[in-house]
């Protein structure tokens, strides 16, 4: 749930700013208001903004950002915020209309994924769309922290955002190294992934894994695999001797479980945090914890 006082504060700033006829700038130069679409971007923004502003997150923890529909209050916060941090690349499908119309009303929306050298989905034809799951690569998120600092600098130049972002970027690059060290336990011939949705492309590219199969084709939540696709996937899993299918905490694992059972071998379905941070106590409350938790689960499943 959202913190009511945070929302009240941001709405107060919105109305104040609207009253002054200048919605782009905060009236108190020391406090910036940031609205982030996902919990992951919210964590990034909170880390950089710290006590110098308020960060609101739109899509709650554990929810799938594809299906989210905003309330009027949240759209008001989007229009009035100093900065709206979105992922872009069609991740926030339910919000794209709202974000576009808010841009028309003067909102400052940054779709950060577009600046992080996005790559196409792995499991699809060459003409397919770009994969939005950029946050699963810590080195890309280190770049995102630096871009965010530049954006915040344009809003409140009196605060030293860059040293904070540099510190966080260094942490993320250390995590990147830590994950690489963790994954060293997985021998080269076992570096193959079968995933529920096509969400692990950046991870695979960064750490030298091969995605040999995806249970649900395309990116749509309504898409269904054909029986030929499922049969081919089952055969591929058996051939490669893959011990696990990696699913998402935000989506149903029914089909993945069925595929795992169909192989007739000991294949487990392992849930990874992909679309959202975990609830408190899950070990995935921050971007860094989430990436490390995912890496540990992958190591445990494959080695």
């Amino acid at each position: 749930m959202f913190n009511r006082s945070l929302i009240a504060a941001s709405v107060a700033v919105v109305l104040l700013a609207a009253a002054c006829g200048d919605a782009g700038q905060a009236d108190d130069p020391g406090k910036v208001t940031v609205v982030a679409t996902t919990t992951i971007l919210g964590d990034l923004a909170r880390t950089i903004v710290g006590d110098d502003g308020e960060v609101d997150v739109l899509v709650p923890a554990g929810a799938d950002p594809h299906d989210f529909q905003a309330s009027a209050r949240q759209v008001a916060a989007i229009v009035g915020a100093d900065l709206v941090l979105a992922n872009g690349l069609f991740l926030e499908q339910g919000l794209d209309d709202v974000l576009d119309s808010a841009i028309g009303d003067g909102a400052n929306v940054v779709r950060i994924g577009e600046f992080l050298n996005p790559q196409p989905f792995v499991d699809q034809d060459s003409n397919s769309e770009l994969d939005p799951h950029v946050w699963l690569d810590p080195s890309r998120m280190a770049d995102a922290a630096e871009i965010l600092a530049l954006e915040l600098g344009a809003i409140a130049p009196n605060i030293d955002w860059e040293s904070r972002s540099a510190k966080y970027a260094t942490e993320l690059r250390d995590v990147d190294q830590e994950i690489e060290d963790l994954l060293a336990a997985v021998p080269t011939d076992r570096r193959v992934l079968v995933t529920n949705h096509d969400s692990m492309g950046y991870f695979a590219t960064r750490y030298g894994f091969e995605i040999i199969g995806v249970v649900v084709p395309g990116g749509s939540t309504l898409a269904d695999p054909s029986s030929a696709q499922v049969a081919a996937l089952v055969a591929r899993i058996a051939d490669a001797g893959v011990p696990a299918i990696f699913a998402e905490t935000t989506d149903s694992t029914t089909l993945a479980e069925a595929v795992a059972a169909e192989t007739g071998r000991d294949v487990t379905v392992v849930e990874l945090y992909s679309g959202s941070l975990g609830e408190s106590g899950s070990g995935a409350e921050t971007l860094i914890d989430m990436l490390l938790t995912n890496a540990r689960r992958i190591v445990a499943a494959l080695s």
Partner: protein
Amino acid sequence: MEWLLEPFELAFQQRALLAGSLAAIALAVIGTWVIIRGMTFLGDALVHGVIPGIALAVLLDFNVLIGAALAAVVMIAGINLVHRQTSFSEDTAIGLLFVGMLTLGVILISRTASFTGSLTTILFGDALGVTASDVATTAVMAVVVVAGSALLHRPFLVLAFNEQKASLLGLRPGAAHTALLVLVTLAIVGSSQTIGTLLVFGLLVGPPATAALLVRRVPIMMLTSAAIGVASVIIGLIISYHADTSGSATMAITPVALFFAVLAITSIRKSRQAAVAS
């Protein structure tokens, strides 16, 4: 008073109010006929039945309204064929075409990599995200639907209450039925594109059903229903703003809640009258 007006100081709320009200008026007028003629299921089926047409339009890059119209023509032709050639009631025909068209849409979408995310959010709009040009589109749709319904009021009325008499009067019930279907499709597809399917349904069924509980004459029913529809949009936007609930869904649930409130009041009144009479 401030509490009621504050939500509408924001530009996106004003656009949602405008597009929502225009759609509410068109849907109230056409929804009155839908309720009287018992075509609610057809309305539901039409929204989902146009999905393969829209998907094809997105894939092959032509206007989505043309895609939707093509799919609607195929669907209505199919329903009429089943209805004429078999002894099944019309809901069987609608059900067959509904599931047939929707699954065709899923097959098309599953074959292509260019769709990510949820189907309805790609193919349909959100009331809080409407642009000025969306408002203009909705206005054109509303004018055509209301004018069409006014011009064809007599044939629709006779069709609704006495289909046999319609042919005796030379009012061609078949043509009137087709014209009504065209207007229903236009109202549903035209407003789904801007304000989303859920809200379109809420406004198509809720206000006319509520009006039918209160008044009997068709033009009065349409006016009452339009007033309830516009009120639902306003109430929904105020609640969504203050209670922090999803915009389109809140506007859509309001007329349904109003229906049950009115139903409760009218049944209490009826049972009191019955008690007094006995």
